[in-house]
């Protein structure tokens, strides 16, 4: 088990190094940030001064060296636009995004597994067909359009829920949270549903496909032959057997939900990192872009690492099989 963890940890570090190089080169090789930080009527001297100050006169590998060195010391650079440390900037926005992402993915997982298992147990019922229709819809309709329709319906036409912003927040552990106040909660419902819909569709499909397969398996037949009630079979056999693919996808989707938060945050003016990155892309604020991407890559690596560990906890074959095989 320990060897397994160490092996995965080394892999994770390697991936992080590769990602930071790709992100750095990708973002820094294209575009010219100098034009952003100096006024259009600047003299050549001011221009050169800015280039030197930003370190852009150095060769690319030296720039990366500086960048990586600073990164390791927790220094992600300063935003060209906001003129403040990027880490502080992102750190201030991150809770809003995490709050949104976690609420929507938990909703998607709970509702998705429930609906998917139902559709898998009774594939021919009309409810199952309706659930599958919903999932095809959730898969096909672009997330931003759903956002628009949600706003149009619940904010503009019905006026039940606010169309944007975080609403009232409460400070807990030095961080502001929306979901702890009624007003904040009303603000989070629409964006969370919007963000959850695609994952919900995916969870439904996976849970349904897994359930259908497991329900026809000998394990379930044998359990039925032993007279075990259907409810117990569902809870103890089916849910456990379909959990492995579900957890993989759940982990991977946690990352992609973070990415899709960019769209949702833009539509609902949710002040998280997603909105920040879109704004930064618009003005080519490179330190922010790089820091965001490195951060996302880091989160991804951590999530994959955790998923591997959870696997080992659920599946006894991996736990013991690693040393043997």
């Amino acid at each position: 088990m320990l060897g397994f963890i160490i092996q995965r940890a080394i892999q994770a570090v390697a991936v992080m190094v590769v990602m930071s190089v790709i992100v750095f080169v990708g973002v820094y090789a294209i575009g010219n940030p100098v034009d952003i930080v100096i006024p259009p009527d600047a003299t050549q001297a001011m221009r050169d001064e800015a280039i030197r100050r930003l370190g852009l006169d150095l060769p690319l590998w030296q720039q990366y060296g500086h960048f990586a060195w600073n990164l390791l010391h927790g220094d992600f650079g300063r935003s060209f636009v906001y003129n403040m440390p990027v880490l502080e900037l992102i750190g201030g926005r991150l809770p809003a995004t995490l709050e949104l992402v976690l609420i929507s993915i938990i909703f998607a997982a709970v509702a998705g597994v429930g609906l998917g298992v139902y559709a898998g147990v009774k594939p021919d019922s009309w409810i199952a067909k309706a659930i599958m229709g919903l999932s095809i819809l959730g898969f096909s309709v672009p997330s931003f359009w759903v956002g628009l329709i949600l706003i149009l319906t619940f904010a503009v036409s019905l006026g039940w829920l606010p169309a944007g912003g975080r609403g009232e927040t409460v400070t807990l552990w030095g961080v502001e949270w929306s979901f702890l106040t009624l007003d904040g909660l009303s603000h989070i419902i629409l964006p969370a549903v919007n963000l959850a819909l695609f994952k919900l569709a995916m969870m439904i499909r996976l849970a349904r496909a897994g359930t259908r397969e497991v329900m026809l398996s000998d394990t379930v037949k044998f359990a039925r032959a032993a007279g075990i009630p259907e409810g117990v079979i569902l809870r103890r056999h089916v849910l456990k057997l379909i959990s492995i693919p579900l957890i993989t996808v759940f982990g991977l989707e946690l990352g992609s939900t973070l990415a899709f938060a960019v769209v949702t945050e833009t539509i609902f003016s949710w002040p998280g990192v997603g909105k920040l990155i879109i704004d930064s892309i618009g003005v080519l604020d490179r330190p922010v872009m790089v820091a965001y991407l490195v951060l996302i890559a880091f989160l991804f690596v951590m999530i994959n690492f955790t998923v591997d560990l959870v696997f080992a906890l659920i599946d006894p074959r991996i736990r013991s099989g690693r040393q043997g095989a």
């Binding site: 990708g26 997330s143 931003f144 359009w145 628009l148 397969e213 892309i281």
Partner: protein, 299 residues
Amino acid sequence: MTDISPPQRATSPVTLFWREFRRNRPATVALAVTLLLFLVAIFAPLIAPQNPYDLAGLSLMDARRPPGFVGSGGYTHLLGTDPQGRDLLSAILFGLRISIEIGVMAGAIALAIGATLGVVAAYAGGWIESLIMRIVDLQLSFPAILLALVMSALLGQGKAQLVTALVAAQYAYFARTAYGAATSERRKDYIEAALATPLHARRVVFKHLLPNCAPPLIVVATVQIASSISLEATLSFLGLGLPVTEPSLGMLISNGFPYMMSGRYWISVYPGVMLIILIMAINIVGDQIRDQLNPRLRR
């Protein structure tokens, strides 16, 4: 590709496939819708009541009018007009054309690059295989939308740039699929035997590895074309896709967004409906093909 088989050989795989496909009514309808939309996209300039790019024909007096409005040209705008005074129906038809064009182009290029990489990795083995597949797997663990977002931000606006961003975001799915199918075939004894004689290498790749990859690749291609179209719309909505002069469906929706709050819903909603019908139809067709090609679900 020879899809047309002589009538006396009525039980060719294609015929059998089609016979089974036809039994699923929703999928058949979806296929018909997909084909219809593709035809509409191809012939949009002939069908559309107005040329939305012809600036001379536009009047700002006619802008943002509701469906059924009779414009200054005496023409009835069935779906209303957009902020530039364009007939929305015409704009949608041209938008559909651009969306499909981008989606199919990105899908085809990603398929070509991805399938090549996958088959090469499976065929070459060794360090080439590990290198290619490591990169592909790394990329697959990263969300496509983020990659496309950053790519199109860095490359700037334009059709070629957008297609490049979409291809970069999607080739890995094809590579993974082709690799999976090709390795499972490659492990079979007859391929091992054929590979031992170097003369047959090319034959093996073209006669055995590639055809074996075709069914799963077809499935991935349908899904990926739908997702390219969706991704393109998303990027355009965020203002990172196409220039304003070439409005895809996503761009039309984006243009209408600010007017939604004031109740002028149609500018965003109708292009959106078209977009959804297109993506859903392709997805349902793709689902059916996958179900038919998946032997595990067969009874």
